[in-house]
């Protein structure tokens, strides 16, 4: 048993931290918040040069062939830097292709994604805000050798800058909502597809409403088997959930670091505020929560990578704990900074908002605790 990162992973962490400290500064993040696209081509190319856009894809598809635990390390560092842009959305779409796509689909898209030539996203959730299969009401009807898609997708990350969308749609109605779900690859600009960028509370995350008004796609747009898309999608969501937890852990650790440093230098009543137990004990609580969130997240990363039977439970435990922990830690960070922590100028609000948006993505703590309850047979 070895529950730690190896030397290569520690190297990846060090490289990522240095790169992001230089390239993804507070100024950079704030400039991206203020504009629609949320990334720059220069920055995107640099991510490609690092090999990070293709980190988890096999080498035959232009990737680095690394595993999910390696991705966890990278996501943690990206969270630390509140990195904006379509990295995560592109990753989700790419992993769907990897999981369920045909060789031709993988050959067409994964190398382009890895090289930074294409971005993609996952158009899954809908205005009903459900995370289960019953939430998929967008329809795909077989028409003239292809399919016609109709419906509305909501909370779709980065659809406005995606070259392709993986659309989750219902091809068959039935008793079991998990049966009859199919996945389609829809290139941007397809007739009937419209994308509306929505203002978001966390401006580092761009979310869209995607409307499919009788969008015709050829039969080759189908990813995997017809009616059998829910199983691969659920597996991708499980992995994406753990990756998101890693990003949240990185953000939470950064808030703790900022707060600890501030508590050492900020003087009140003639002493650094960190010497007062009212501050010190709160900081200790933050540390306990960061460490526990990491432990559950790392375990979940290993579990989904190894596909152990407990993977679903591990992922839900991690998301439940980390969702609450990051929100509380970001809030405590603001509190311990006092007035400066409430300003636009200070970076804390970036983390506080990221914590909230991440908490609400893929189900919040309450949702995942109920999943845990089911999985432990309560």
């Amino acid at each position: 048993m070895d529950f730690g990162f190896n030397a290569d992973q520690e190297m990846l962490r060090a490289t990522a931290r240095k790169f992001l400290e230089n390239e993804c500064t507070s100024e950079f993040v704030r400039a991206r918040m203020a504009e629609d696209t949320g990334f720059t081509p220069e920055f995107w190319n640099k991510l490609a040069e690092q090999g990070w856009l293709g980190l988890v894809y096999p080498e035959q598809y232009g990737g680095a062939g690394l595993g999910f635990v390696d991705l966890t390390v990278l996501m943690e560092e990206m969270g630390r830097a509140v990195m904006p842009g379509p990295f995560f959305s592109t990753l989700m779409a790419g992993v769907v292709l990897l999981e369920a796509g045909s060789d031709a689909q993988k050959k067409e898209w994964l190398p382009k994604i890895a090289e930074g030539q294409a971005r993609a996203t996952l158009a899954w959730t809908e205005p009903n805000a459900r995370w289960d299969a019953a939430g998929v009401t967008t329809t795909a009807k077989a028409t003239g050798g292809g399919f016609t898609l109709a419906g509305t997708k909501l909370f779709v990350p980065d659809a406005h800058v995606a070259d392709a969308l993986v659309v989750v749609a219902r091809t068959r109605e039935g008793k079991n909502p998990e049966e009859g779900v199919s996945l389609f690859l829809v290139p941007a600009g397809t007739k009937g597809l419209s994308v509306k960028l929505l203002p978001t509370m966390d401006q580092t995350r761009k979310l869209c409403e995607v409307t499919l008004a009788d969008v015709n796609v050829p039969a080759g747009a189908l990813i995997g088997a017809k009616d059998a898309g829910w199983t691969p999608l659920a597996r991708v969501i499980e992995r994406a959930t753990v990756a998101l937890c890693a990003e949240m852990c990185g953000g939470a650790q950064r808030v703790l670091d900022m707060t600890t440093e501030y508590a050492k230098i900020r003087i009140a009543f003639g002493k650094p505020i960190g010497s007062y137990q009212g501050v010190k004990h709160k900081a200790a609580d933050m540390l306990v929560e960061v460490e526990n969130a990491k432990s559950l997240t790392y375990y979940a990363a290993w579990a989904v990578d190894e596909k152990v039977p407990e993977a679903a439970l591990a992922a839900s435990m991690a998301k439940a704990y980390t969702s609450d922990a990051f929100r509380k830690i970001a809030g405590a960070g603001i509190q311990l900074h006092g007035g400066i922590g409430f300003t636009w100028e200070h970076d804390l609000h970036l983390y506080f908002k990221r914590a909230k948006s991440s908490e609400a993505t893929f189900g919040d703590a309450t949702y995942h605790r109920e999943r845990v309850a089911q999985l432990i047979n309560l």
């Binding site: 048993m1 529950f3 730690g4 004990h281 990363a301 309560l378």
Partner: protein, 396 residues
């Protein structure tokens, strides 16, 4: 990152599993599922620990010459996991196994290492911890119990308090002041004290549970031979801190395991209890609370596993090593509170009421759990330690 075990470790797991299922007596549960041994269970638990020892399933990480198996913490984790799965009874001589033994192995002379640890594991000799005094709790280094040199002997006078198991203990880990002129951390010595020496008086203290599991211990001119000093004169603070480190790290496993056992029992009880005509585990609010405890308990396990990995790699323990005790306390106290909540009005009954749930064991452990955030370093002191030693915040 790898959670797979070696063939030897898998073989150990099978051996432990088979042995436990053959050897845990069916009727031990009559003593309740409390993680703290209760007086009526002492005789049974002595025999249980002896049986564990004879089977080679205790002290796995201790060196062979001290009666252990010379294995790593991974084997210890395997053992503990199996004990959790089968709800094994607790270890009676927990202060010896968790604290005294490892400290003697770390600081003892060859003679001391031969004399004490093996009998700790076999439960032939039970140990207690003489740290806290009426005026020295969290500020332990201010302790006043004196030891004055007289030839080859040291003469002890003073008082300890909250001393768990002193009433059945054969030995005490005693911290006493040997140099009153030195700065308070530098004038303390660690003694291995025979509880049968003349001048040692033990007075049980009745606790909020009604049990008397801890005690006051008085020393009236107790003469201890200098060969009973552990780790050198005036070096007691460093030796004592080692004890506490072991308590918080190695014992952390055991704590997590007991927590898991108690949680499984709680879920079992919740399934039997009803609210508005349905099982408590079908109530959405209760499901949330039970799942929270499950997740928090698992988090403790994996945080512990990260700390163990650092130990195995020969690295210094990181921040994850310091959070275990606090995390356990918090989770366990919430668990016990939920156990009361689930019982509704039955929470008001106690042992002896024929309609009490599980014969009132939850009422006992609910009350007992209040000590958790005080014993072994209060939660407030733990937070100071984390704040200062891990986060580097200035002292107050």
């Amino acid at each position: 990152m790898d959670f797979t075990l070696t063939p030897d470790q898998e073989a150990l797991r099978k051996r432990v599993r088979a042995w436990l299922s053959a050897n845990i007596p069916d009727d031990w549960k009559k003593f309740g599922l409390s993680e703290v041994p209760r007086p009526e269970a002492y005789d049974f638990l002595r025999k249980w620990q002896k049986a564990l020892h004879d089977a080679g399933f205790i002290g796995l990480t201790w060196p062979k010459e001290s009666g252990g198996q010379g294995l790593t913490f991974v084997e210890e984790m395997v053992l503990q996991e199996e004990m959790a799965l089968q709800k094994a009874p607790p270890v009676l001589n927990i202060l010896g196994v968790g604290m005294a033994g490892p400290t003697i192995v770390a600081y003892g002379t060859e003679e001391q290492k031969k004399r004490y640890p093996a009998k700790i594991l076999s439960c032939e000799e039970i140990w207690c911890q003489g740290y806290s005094e009426p005026n020295s709790g969290s500020d332990l280094a201010s302790l006043q119990t004196r030891a004055v040199k007289d030839g080859e002997y040291w003469v002890i006078n003073g008082q300890k308090v909250w001393t768990s198991l002193a009433h059945i203990a054969d030995w005490m880990m005693l911290l006493a002041r040997t140099d009153p002129a030195a700065p308070k951390h530098k004038g303390i010595t660690y003694f291995l004290l025979d509880m049968k020496l003349p001048g040692v008086t033990v007075k049980p203290l009745k606790q909020i549970t009604g049990d008397a599991e801890f005690n006051e211990v008085f020393f009236d001119n107790v003469r201890v031979h200098e060969s009973q000093i552990l780790g050198g004169v005036n070096n007691g603070w460093a030796v004592g801190l080692t004890t506490l480190m072991y308590e918080r790290l190695a014992l952390g496993f055991g704590l997590q395991v007991r927590l898991r056992i108690t949680l499984e029992s709680l879920i079992d009880m919740a399934k039997r209890m009803e609210k508005h005509g349905r099982s408590m585990t079908k109530d959405p609010v209760m499901r949330q609370k039970l799942a929270t405890l499950w997740i928090d308990t698992e988090a403790l396990k994996y945080t512990g596993a990260r700390a163990v990995t650092k130990l195995l790699r020969g690295e210094l323990p990181g921040p994850e090593a310091s959070t275990g005790k606090m995390g356990w306390v918090d989770t366990h106290q919430r668990l016990q509170e939920l156990a009361m909540e689930i019982q509704g009005p039955y929470a008001m009954l106690g042992r002896g009421a024929d309609v009490a749930v599980d014969n009132g064991v939850w009422q006992y452990s609910f009350l007992r759990s209040r000590a958790n955030s005080i014993e072994g370093g209060t939660t407030e002191i733990q937070k100071n330690i984390i704040g200062e030693r891990v986060l580097g915040l200035p002292k107050g």
